[in-house]
């Protein structure tokens, strides 16, 4: 079949099952866009390429399929960088397609030329520069294979403009040939037997569930393992939704802003079973004091993660999809009442400090998050931004839905939520998608409100507006002498901004108005933006101070008087 390079790109995408792509046109992708209308692919025109990368990432996280973004050469390509780095840190399968200047002028500093394969080398799982149209089909095949297999990640394909225009005989390969790319395939039965023994002899075991459980679609197996062994579970931020947070054995998120009882469990455990977690520093604190009393079993699909941050007593390299069912059949049932009773006491103590149980007329963000959960019964996809709002969402929305929270964990990218929610909503049109963001992060990709409207997406947006870059302000208050340098933030009237885009906007200043506004958003068919003017200097508690072990937390004080 005679095809142009541009046609070959779209045809390959269709063969890979792609029906949605997020992008922005430009000079070096003009051939691609010229060919696009002939293919059954819905192209979502974003307002900034960073938004395109986050949208592809959000689409991938919500659906488990590969997300695709497209950008032109030069500034189009460099604008993808933050989005690709975000996807790379969180192991999200994304294929980015960029245009490159024509092969005869590569290297001459041509108009809108940039070495995007060089730039994205450390933030992609792999990347390609295509200068020969004959290579294009195999490159596309490999790009998708690499992006979605093993530990997923972003792959960038940079295609010279003349390659897009060139005609050739298109033939899509059935197989890839990647001699240096191996997936874990070893026999792990011996390790699993050893793991089962360690688990059975442990008095205070604790599972640390990470993103790998979600990526490996191993949620059912995790639940079975937990119920069979009565081992409590803490999650990482990205491990949220690996197990329903409504489950009595789920202690929620641990780490710098984890639940106090989750962190105490981490510190007191005599066995940590890490499932698909890379022991990020926001989970562990200083690694030399982490899990001081515990032996460590580390199960991960990526052998590089073994012994990278935390030294392991037993390593199992494999996909949790395959490993967990085998582990379940290897371990016996066991009663852990004593350990669970201790955790229950910690839990009760935490409940007394909880601000949501306290009588206050102030508009606190924790209350807003909790009420969003109540109003939606948790049956929605939450897409959180980064900062205090992200932690409040993680703490006060009770996640029980599969892939129910999308958030930038590793890179901590402010501005992630709105474009990622666009991707999630397009991937799952029947689901209600909520954005929770701060006033700082929301302004970083606020332009994507136009995409929401153009695509008629019913995304609900809740802004926790405190007039600060709040997480940094909190650090300044606690550790930098209260000097609020570079953190007070002037924002627009977000409701009016929303109205200007054609989205209903609501401003909430009183606690008593919160429920009605959330209900209005839930019941409105289209998008709604709510600007919650929250207490300005509210902090995220508990907090593990930087450099301190996870069980030394700054807690909210116990309320005086009755609860």
């Amino acid at each position: 079949m005679k095809r142009t390079g541009a046609q070959a790109v779209w045809e390959s995408l269709v063969r890979e099952g792609v029906d949605t792509a997020f992008g922005i046109s430009g000079g070096a992708v003009i051939h691609l866009y010229h060919a696009l209308p002939d293919y059954p692919i819905h192209h979502v025109l974003m307002r900034h390429e960073q938004g395109a990368a986050h949208a592809a990432d959000g689409y991938a996280r919500a659906t488990g399929k590969v997300g695709v973004c497209v950008a032109t050469s030069g500034p189009g390509a460099t604008n993808l960088v933050t989005g690709l780095a975000t996807a790379y840190m969180d192991s999200s399968p994304v294929v980015a397609i960029t245009g490159q200047v024509a092969t005869p002028v590569i290297g001459t500093d041509a108009f809108q030329e940039v070495d995007i394969t060089g730039i994205t080398l450390p933030i992609t799982k792999h990347n390609y520069l295509v200068t020969d149209v004959e290579e294009l089909p195999l490159v596309m095949k490999e790009a998708f294979y690499i992006a979605r297999s093993g530990r997923p990640g972003p792959v960038l394909v940079d295609i010279a403009k003349d390659v897009q225009a060139a005609e050739f005989d298109y033939d899509y390969p059935d197989e890839v040939r990647l001699p240096g790319y191996r997936l874990p395939a070893g026999d792990i039965s011996a390790q699993l037997e050893a793991a089962a023994e360690m688990i059975e002899s442990a008095e205070r075991p604790l599972i640390v569930a990470g993103h790998g459980v979600v990526l490996g679609a191993a949620e059912d197996s995790l639940l079975r393992l937990v119920e069979q062994t009565q081992i409590p579970v803490v999650t990482t931020l990205l491990g949220i939704s690996a197990i329903p947070e409504t489950h009595p054995l789920c202690l929620g998120m641990a780490g710098m802003h984890g639940e106090a009882y989750a962190n105490l469990a981490l510190a007191e455990a005599d066995l940590l079973i890490a499932l698909g977690s890379r022991f990020d520093d926001r989970l562990t604190g200083p690694v030399d004091g982490f899990g001081a009393q515990a032996k460590v079993i580390h199960v991960d699909i990526d052998t590089v993660e073994i012994n990278k941050n935390v030294l392991t007593d037993l390593a199992v390299v494999g996909d949790l999809r395959d490993v967990l069912p085998q582990l379940i059949s290897a371990v016996d049932e066991r009663n852990r009442d004593e350990w669970l009773a201790r955790i229950r006491l910690w839990r009760e103590e935490s409940a007394q400090r909880d601000i949501v149980g306290q009588e206050t007329d102030e508009l606190v963000p924790q209350f807003v998050m909790r009420q969003i959960w109540h109003a939606t019964r948790g049956e929605v996809i939450m897409v959180s931004d980064v900062g205090q709002n992200q932690m409040w969402e993680a703490q006060y929305f009770v996640h029980h839905r599969r892939r129910g929270l999308l958030s930038s964990g590793g890179l901590g990218t402010m501005g992630f939520a709105l474009p990622a929610a666009i991707g999630a909503q397009l991937g799952l049109p029947e689901q209600q998608v909520w954005v929770t963001a701060g006033d700082g992060g929301f302004q970083m990709n606020i332009q994507e409100l136009a995409t929401v409207v153009q695509e008629k997406l019913p995304v609900k947006i809740a802004i926790m507006n405190n007039g600060y870059l709040g997480m940094v302000r909190q650090w300044q208050q606690l550790f930098f002498e209260g000097r609020y340098s570079g953190t007070p933030l002037l924002g627009p009237d977000f409701a009016k901004v929303a109205e200007a885009y054609g989205i209903p906007g609501i401003t909430i200043r009183e606690k008593a108005q919160v429920d009605a506004a959330i209900l209005q958003a839930v019941e409105t068919e289209g998008p709604v933006l709510i600007d919650f003017r929250i207490v300005q200097e509210e902090n995220v508690y508990p907090m593990v101070a930087p450099g301190r072990p996870v069980n030394e937390m700054i807690r909210r004080p116990m309320p005086t008087g009755k609860r």
Binding site: P122, K125, H126, I146, G180, Y181, V304, I306
Partner: protein, 170 residues
């Protein structure tokens, strides 16, 4: 900190060297030398890397290298019976009065004079780094004008002959 010698085989494609060197910088690995050229297989390059670090760091280097899609095999040969060699070209000050002295030194080290100029000699030496270092030390008093070293290349010894063709169980 220990010195480790790694051998990596990789696809001979544009940008692969960049991927490897970029990895070292990004992961903050301390690389002492790196030498690359063709291997016995067409389309596959062979790189010898000398890296400083404890066992845990080196384990990470090996696994990170192996994770690169274009890298097909990596092996740590530090504890294997291996041949290590380096080549150096040394241009040393040598007026007519010093030439015979230098040539004599050179022959003791089984090095060769490969170029003779009016005021300098260029010496080529191949051997373990220790021998190369010794010769350089002895030539320094004469004044070294230029020095080019290749970095270490390594090959595991075949032992009693029942090893694989390249002496490594990749």
């Amino acid at each position: 900190m220990e010195k480790h010698t790694l051998i990596a085989l990789m696809e001979d494609k544009p940008g692969v060297l960049n991927r490897v060197s970029g990895l070292f910088r990004r992961r903050n690995y301390n690389i002492e030398s790196l030498s690359v050229g063709h291997s016995e297989t067409g389309g596959i390059s062979r790189m010898t890397i000398v890296v400083n670090g404890d066992e845990r760091i080196v384990e990470q280097v090996v696994k990170q290298l192996d994770k690169l899609v274009n890298v097909t095999d990596v092996i740590d040969v530090s504890h294997r019976d291996s041949v290590f060699r380096e080549l150096a070209l040394i241009k040393v000050n040598a007026g007519p009065g010093k030439r015979s002295e230098i040539i004599e030194l050179t022959s003791v080290f089984r090095a060769r004079v490969v170029d003779v100029g009016a005021t300098s000699l260029t010496v080529e030496i191949t051997g373990p780094e220790s021998r190369v270092n010794s010769l350089i030390g002895l030539l320094e008093p004469y004044g070294i004008e230029e020095l080019a070293r290749t970095g270490r290349v390594a090959m595991v010894r075949s032992g009693n002959g029942n090893g694989s063709s390249r002496g490594i169980d990749f």
